[in-house]
Symmetry: C2
Subunit: 888 residues, 2 copies
């Protein structure tokens, strides 16, 4: 007695997916539930594997088992394969453990030959249908089993149509189709040297073998490599009785959802057709009827269908998407799976089902896709809208916006304040554009990447942004842009979609954001489940408050460089950098101190009672100076246009300073702690401002803020030792002056591979680590984000060379390995060290789950991503407990 | 019976360094050899550790042991501490396992008090000397043991000198010194509240404790942290009889080497003084006599000294550097250690000693410092020369050069061809300057780092280069540069030292390179010992031949970008990059193909029979285009000076292309395999050129070259899969066309952290890995080499934040960890994968030893570093076998 390879539908269940494939296991499950499913059997994935090992031959015993189950099927249906009076027709379909849509082969209508086609014609009373099915079978058999070029069949059909003088296939008569059947058989014979097999069991064996072999076809292999599916799994094969919805007015076919997938409302939702085959519903040739009307047409079947739908929803604990066929008054379910739904519906259904007592809160949290929450937080383009897309840029900040195009910040600010909706269009934005950004609906730039000024600021504000749309050609003077012959002038209406990067001419309908009670319920339940902390990246009191509303438990990253960029401060910052003497520099820093202190007081107020991690100055100093090429061009212009000697000399001085500071690779240059070590007075000023702010808040509120001071870009433990000493010395001096004691932490970013690899040494001087996974991704992969996105990274993603954007989803094999190494090394030395992530990955679901898995204490993300991080963190807990099941 | 803490010199030996410290163990060793050493004993490092653990108190039994050994010392010398007639004086010196020069404390002349000073005066017949010794002892005791501010003593001396009306200390009379003794004692009393201890055993105990405590003084701790010496080792304390060379004409003192340390000649070499103390020889106040003259002055002692020196050389198997004192006709050896020597001497001594049968070849190889070989390969500044240094730049390519300053390549080429020695001085060099570089003695640039064009080209040619000397201000039009008020005009003589980065006004004497028979013998012996392969980085047939002469066993890195930069090709390369259509690009590539093929044929010829690793194009395309700022300035000039519409439009076209290609961080941008994947036609052209060259050589020499094709900058296995496929497809097509079979390998650089972390996956598509440790250092540390050197990295090195330049010596804790990880991962998957290093670390001794240690197959370095790598690789083997002993 050999291995069992074949299972009747009544022998399997939904937990046998590895053995029976997804489709087979679900057919078995429905059969087990007593739901009417066309009868059939599954040949297991193990048979497929054995087939491969045997050199593409049936393993011992399989042929007999198939014959046995076929006999059983014939007995159950009362029909038999090839019977000229009452023929059994079967479908032969692949079905692997993981869905691989369209990748493998299917053969329908198997069992037809010159005899049984007559039986089918008699049974259906439709000779045309029977011969159409027959020619389709031969065509499919030829392509799939015999690998004949499909174009030859199409050419034959075209020739036949021309002969018949008709335009469409469905206008061909039964006679035409009979003729085609002969022609198809001839093609088969000519191409393969073998006749079409009239013997149905032979047809079946050949079809099963073809499906097995399709597991190894190139497109399936490519697909599996792309989705990391093992080549060793194999596919199952489902052999199932064909049923026909086109056998008269007591037959029909339809598709349905157990709830409204658009709104989530609990109502019947679907379409059906009387006397039609499944493909007719989808093809849209005949006008379908609403499922709710079916009660009038065939009340009994309708009642049965409603019952089945309820049963499926109860059983799968989700909204199901089903396909059914009625053959001569008898209902057959062909498929059930969890239905796709809009973001609004997903949230409503999950909450409703909890209220109905159908699912638990945990299940509800598991059922909402974090990406759907994201959609609900921003306006989006109405999925039904038509529009004219004229360009594509980077999806720099999610959400869609509509407004008048304006080409400078002043105009944007002015019109925006007057209540006009405007979209700010710039080559790139700079800190000077902030007032215009604040008053705009969204921003479009033709340059700059995901970390450009416009992108970072827009994400912080939760405003849509499309950046680096380099096809558009902005003429600032003429106040217009052109792209592919389209012209958008100032005042013209423009739409952008920051979720997808689309630039659209004219207005487009938007769906408004929907942060309603259902949304809040899901997030609150998620907060109750997750163990990972969620903080926010925020640089202003406004952002801090917004994030706190969304549930942030503190600030994980407060960048101080944006504070330096503010309009009123940039001149002082530039003066500080241009200073030739230490005294001049000290004077400029003295001016900045009270401004920084005010910033910190505002943030401490907004986050009172919650920890605030402040990162000391990070970017290279030349970022605060004008662009080198611009300075040189200005200088040339001054010289050629007879500028005064003084003007020229001043410009030359600036050019020299910019030249001496500018860097080949600023990302890897004098920034972060390298600045702090060489110009300690800058960090001292910042630390003083932080502690003075803490002292002030403590005095005002009687309660000190929870201050965490963070040193960026450490590569060597010695760097942190030096700067920790500076920080502690400065803090203690401020506290001693004030005569108060305030606790504070000192820690560092881990954002360089070397820091991760020596985290044990570095931890000696750190109370906490925050993994800066943006920069860690740049260095680990050698990808400059500014240079990769829109260029080779986009190409890699389009070509499938890499699957996910590593700046969105953490690169587990590279960056993730380093983070894990650092966690182990640092906890090994200092078990209570606080560990978090503050890269943009902190707001991306898959990355958040990774962070949970390796035992971090918190993630930190932009305010509008806080709910998403929370939901993902909760789902990570549920996945760990194996509480997540979905039927897709 | 407690632990033994104290050892007489006769009880120890040189292998007891951990317990007795370096100095103590050597004193014991000499004693054991029967060489006359002033008598004494060592208090062990274990006593020091126990002292610390006991809260800075003597551990049980130590006091008694010291007393016992002191009694033995008094007995052996016939003198006793504090004796008013025949006083014993001792020195108390620290001596740790590892030498920490000047870091810890010493007390000399211990045993003096108001009584014994008279005995010393009587014994020496020199009252002045006795009181000078006494005041020195009190001063030292005060500073070291009592921690009195040393300035107070100096102030008292100054006041005394003024009172006496003399200029120098040695002019003070015995009476003055007696007065100072009183004043010093008063200072001690006033500052510490305690009197100077007149009781010698108390003096001794306090001195020993002070030396123990000096192990923990801040400068010693800092020193240990810097040199990675454990804090747990402790120091030993040596208590030794003082001997005096100033006791009349039968006394004296001297220093000597057992051979000539400058030439290596086997001859007596040293200086001595009759009736003098050791410090007099060093101070240079009195004119010393040559040691060879000593035979006349005191023949018997001289003979004894020669015998001792021979014995020491035989025993330590090296040239020794000794100190001796003769007290009343009796010779005492105070110290012996391996002597420092010039590069030429090091090589000669090592080879001579082998010939003399004194040492083995292995020992000879172990004795030569790889850095010394480096010196011998290049001219260097005569160590005795005086010169005026006017600036410092980066030591970009070793060796020194003297010549006339010239400010453009054409003049350099012209004058150089005429036999003039010229130094090319440029802001930066570019490929257009090559003809000038070839004809110059050396190059000086005011910009650009260690990887700038000038630096890379000069290293390849073995020419001296000083780069990035940014203090110098070049005025190309006026043909001169200025620095700190100094002006160097065209034609003025200038010297540079590329080994140190010095820029020198005028001519300086040079020592010529010395690649003589001794040099070749050492390298040949090293070649016989090493197991690590040594290849070269070479891009031209000339470099390849040079490296082969030096012993290179193949090419580990042939860069193809320099071939693109050649004067005749750059226009074609630019045309290829600027092409708007694929056809135009293909046309340009067709033109480049035969040129590349010719390059490869030349290299294959030069390296026939040895493997050649060719790296496909690596740098970003914009490196071949003009500088962006320059283009914009040109454009502005054209516009303002009324350039024609066509000219302006052409320039605008160039500006647009440069703008679209230029990158924020080119190091992390579209280069290496990212180019090859997006523009496969470039790599296809290169691979075709390589294989066609191989076919041609095969036909010509009847023997195919050993071709290894290397894909740069892989981060993902998929990248290499795609490009390996392209490479194999292209090679096989060429071979099929030619109808021959030639084996070749395809591999990749591992130069990104992600590649190292996923080396197992990547190894699937690689026959070999070459670790590109230059770029791996840049990404792992987040250091852009161009931006770090001369800026923050230099600051870090100066401040001791990091110990070694990670671009010179591999950063073992960070980069090294990644390389090791990659070795393990790849060998685990593919045990026979060939592994090498082709970063500049491949030619640096410490890094080469690391490469040997982790089991790489070879290192590859610039031609002039091949002998250094070979020597270091041999020493790594010897260190492994513990065959290396040195007495330093």
């Amino acid at each position: 007695m050999g291995k069992k390879y074949v299972y009747d539908f009544s022998e399997g269940s939904m937990d046998m997916k590895p053995l029976l494939g997804g489709k087979g296991a679900n057919l078995c499950e429905m059969t087990k539930l007593g739901i009417p499913v066309p009868s059939g059997f599954v040949i297991s994935t193990e048979a497929c594997i054995a087939f491969g090992k045997a050199g593409n031959e049936f393993p011992d015993g399989l042929q007999e088992e198939v014959a046995e189950h076929l006999a059983g099927l014939e007995e159950r249906t009362g029909k038999s394969l090839g019977d000229p009076d009452n023929p059994l027709l079967v479908s032969v379909r692949s079905g692997a453990m993981f869905s691989m849509p369209g990748m493998m082969d299917t053969v329908l209508n198997l069992g037809l030959n010159n005899d049984s086609v007559l039986g089918l014609a008699a049974m259906t009373g439709d000779e045309r249908f029977a011969f159409d099915a027959y020619r389709r079978f031969i065509q499919m058999f030829g392509k799939v089993v015999k690998e004949v070029d499909g174009q030859m069949f199409e050419d034959a059909i075209t020739a036949r149509r021309e002969k018949a003088g008709v335009q469409f296939d469905n206008e061909l008569s039964a006679t035409d189709l009979k003729q085609l059947v002969s022609e198809f058989k001839k093609i088969l014979r000519d191409e393969t040297g073998e006749s079409f097999p009239e013997d149905p069991p032979v047809q079946l064996e050949m079809a099963i073998k073809a499906v097995f072999q399709s597991w190894g076809n190139p497109r399936a292999v490519t697909y599996r490599r792309h989705y990391n599916i093992s080549d060793d799994l194999g596919t199952a094969v489902n052999v199932q009785q064909m049923v026909f919805g086109n056998m008269g007015d007591d037959s029909g076919t339809g598709v349905a959802f157990t709830r409204n997938p658009s709104t989530g409302d609990k109502e019947i939702f679907g379409d059906y057709l009387i006397n039609a085959q499944g493909e007719d519903v989808v093809a849209g040739i005949r006008k379908t009827r609403k499922l709710s009307e079916m009660g009038e047409d065939m009340p009994q079947v309708f009642e049965e269908l409603i019952g089945v739908m309820q049963k499926l929803e109860q059983h799968y604990r989700d909204m199901e998407d089903i396909e059914f066929t009625i053959e001569k008054g008898k209902l057959y379910m062909l498929q059930t799976r969890d239905g796709k739904r809009t973001a609004a519906a997903a949230v409503k259904i999950a909450v409703d089902m909890v209220e109905e007592g159908l699912i638990t809160r945990e299940e509800a949290v598991a059922k909402v896709d974090p990406a759907q929450l994201d959609q609900l937080m921003h306006p989006m383009i109405d999925p039904k809208a038509d529009y004219k897309q004229i360009a594509t840029g980077l999806n720099a900040s999610p959400g869609a916006a509509v407004g008048k195009a304006v080409f400078d910040a002043d105009t944007a600010a002015e019109q925006g304040k007057n209540g006009e909706a405007v979209i700010l269009v710039r080559w790139e934005t700079s800190p000077d554009d902030i007032h215009g950004l604040i008053e705009s609906e969204g921003v479009l730039t033709s340059h700059g990447g995901m970390t450009s000024h416009a992108a970072v600021v827009a994400r912080g504000m939760g405003k849509p942004a499309v950046c680096g749309a380099d096809q558009i050609n902005i003429d600032e003077k003429e106040r217009r842009f052109t792209v592919d012959g389209n012209v958008v002038k100032e005042g013209d209406i423009l739409s952008i979609d920051g979720t997808t990067g689309k630039v659209i001419m004219g207005a487009v309908d938007l769906v408004p954001p929907l942060i309603n009670e259902n949304f809040q319920a899901i997030v609150a339940w998620a907060d109750g489940i997750r163990t990972l902390g969620v903080r926010t990246n925020a640089d202003t009191p406004e952002d801090s408050s917004k994030a706190r509303e969304f549930g942030a438990e503190g600030i994980g990253l407060c960048r101080t460089e944006h504070m330096f960029m503010a309009e009123a401060r940039l001149p002082i910052v530039r003066k500080m950098i241009m200073s030739e003497s230490a005294d001049d520099r000290a004077e400029a820093l003295e001016k900045l101190l009270p401004m920084q202190q005010e910033d910190f007081e505002g943030i401490f107020e907004a986050m009172h009672g919650l920890p605030v991690t402040i990162r000391l100055l990070d970017p290279p100093l030349h970022e605060f100076l004008p662009d080198y090429a611009e300075v040189l061009v200005d200088l040339e212009r001054l010289k050629l246009s007879g500028g005064s000697r003084e003007d020229i000399e001043e410009k030359e001085g600036i050019a020299a300073r910019v030249r001496s500071l500018r860097e080949m690779n600023p990302m890897l240059g004098t920034r972060g702690c390298r600045l702090g070590i060489q110009w300690p007075e800058i960090y001292e000023m910042q630390v003083r401002a932080i502690m003075q702010a803490a002292v002030a808040i403590n005095a005002r509120r009687g309660d000190a803020p929870l201050v965490e001071i963070m040193i960026p870009l450490v590569a060597f433990a010695e760097e942190l030792r030096i700067l920790r000493e500076l920080t502690v010395r400065t803090c203690d001096a401020v506290l001693a002056d004030a005569g108060v004691g305030i606790d504070y932490l000192v820690g560092t970013m881990i954002e360089l591979p070397r820091a991760a690899l020596t985290a044990d040494e570095i931890s000696e001087y750190a109370d906490f680590f925050s993994f800066g996974t943006n920069d860690l991704t740049q260095t680990t992969l050698g990808f400059s984000r500014d240079d990769a996105e829109g260029k080779f990274l986009t190409y890699y993603l389009e070509e499938g060379i890499i699957r996910q954007n590593p700046f969105e989803t953490i690169d587990v094999d590279g960056v993730g390995k380093l983070v894990e190494t650092a966690v182990k090394l640092s906890r090994g030395k200092k078990s209570d060290i606080k560990l978090g992530v503050c890269g943009e990955h902190g707001g991306e679901a898959e990355s958040v789950k990774f962070c949970h898995g390796i035992g971090l204490d918190y993630v930190s993300c932009s305010p509008y991503r806080v709910p998403i991080a929370s939901l993902a963190a909760a789902q990570a807990v549920l996945e760990e407990k194996k509480m997540v099941y979905s039927n897709v």
